[in-house]
């Protein structure tokens, strides 16, 4: 059941960010709803599940947007891993925590994407210019989306909609 709900959530996020959310963006910059969902769910879980969530979400995005396979998977998996690992260390019910985590992971994800782009293609902008022009506006959008979305996901998880309570420490990656 949880797998179906999460897969549905991923696909819905991708479809929304490719259609309706494109209207909400400015200057060609749109929120990466999928990243917000991955980070939020990973924070409600643990490192192992966070990694798997990021891997699956990234793979969906690679397939649905015709990106090179692994491009988005890499960044999303890394974000899921870090958010899931942090989940053990932070007080997840306190809203500023996911807001801080999404801010940091948005910057990380954009930086990773930039370097992957540099590895496989030639990016048009310098990293600093890219971060200023694209990553910072997206960071603000992600904070807003997370502030709206996280309480609903937290409530849903308390009802056991996504997965059983996080596994014990021994099952984490680190």
């Amino acid at each position: 059941m949880g797998i179906l709900v999460i897969s549905g959530l991923f696909i819905l996020s991708l479809v929304l960010q490719g259609s309706v959310l494109a209207l909400a963006g400015t200057g060609g910059i749109h929120p990466d709803l999928l990243l917000v969902v991955v980070v939020a769910l990973a924070l409600l879980s643990d490192g192992k599940r966070g990694t798997l969530l990021g891997f699956t979400a990234g793979l969906f995005q690679d397939v649905l947007t015709a990106a090179p396979l692994g491009f988005f998977t890499f960044g999303k998996m890394l974000a899921g891993l870090l958010a899931g690992t942090l989940a053990r260390e932070v007080y997840r019910d306190y809203l500023p925590v996911p807001l801080m985590v999404i801010s940091a992971l948005t910057l990380l994800n954009e930086t990773v994407a930039y370097f992957l782009m540099e590895l496989y293609f030639s990016p048009a902008l310098q990293l600093t210019d890219y971060l200023r022009a694209f990553a910072l506006p997206r960071l603000l959008m992600h904070v807003l989306v997370m502030a709206f979305l996280y309480p609903y996901l937290l409530r849903a998880q308390r009802r056991g909609l996504f997965f059983a309570e996080p596994e014990n420490d021994g099952d984490g990656w680190f």
Binding site: A22, L23, A66, L69, F71, D169
Partner: protein, 283 residues
Amino acid sequence: MLAPLKTRRKKTVSLLLVFIFLLCLAAFTAQGRQKLTLAEEMLLTLVAPVQGVFQRLTRTVDNTFATVKEYRLLLEENAALKKELANAATLEARLLELRQENHRLREMLGFKEKTGYSLIPAEVIGRDASSWFQTMTINRGSYHGVEKNMAVVTSDGLVGNILSVSRLSSQVLLLTDSRPAVSALVQRSREPGEVGVVESAPGLPGYLKMINLPREANIQPGDRIISSGLGGVFPKGLVIGYVLETGDDEYGILQYALLRPAANFNRLEEVFVVVPDPGEGEE
């Protein structure tokens, strides 16, 4: 309690291997793949109808806002169009005459008359929202006759080419993506030695750049750039864009031109997939 050191080390190594595998996979698939896997095709086929619904919803909302915003412009445009319509009948008669004349001239010169392209109409049902790739999804796939690499156009000009095809949908690589390159020439001069390559303009999202033009190339602002047909992906004669400015490359050996794309990439709703003429490759 933390997992034993050995187990943790094993997990860390396997995690690193996954990341390295992803890097290799992305490198391997960065320049496009020949075929989609069955799982990918199933996912795309399942998601396409959902994308269609949301895209229509988005378009409705967008159109409503645009209509309200552009009401005044529409009134002015309406008046201008009425005037234009009055001239249309004269123009149509002139067009018919020119077409007949053109046909006669072609026959005289012994050229093979080129028929119009065969087109598959399609609706845009999804766009990639990331700022890295410029792709979109259309609601026509292999079931409708779409094949990989077919050119995609609007009535304004070339949009891109088919990157991958599933049964009911296809993904289009837009010209503004960093990956495609189109062999092109200046329509005014049509000099065969002045074929350049059109690709996305680095640092100028939404614009195109024509590179590798000889320094003495006869090109100037306002010129219309069309596909040359070389390379086999894009048929000859599709309008790509218009020259905004020209300049020398960094070494001063070649010339480049900055282009405004003919198609409006911000408002792509309906497009056409160009089915190549079977005889085209033999020309």
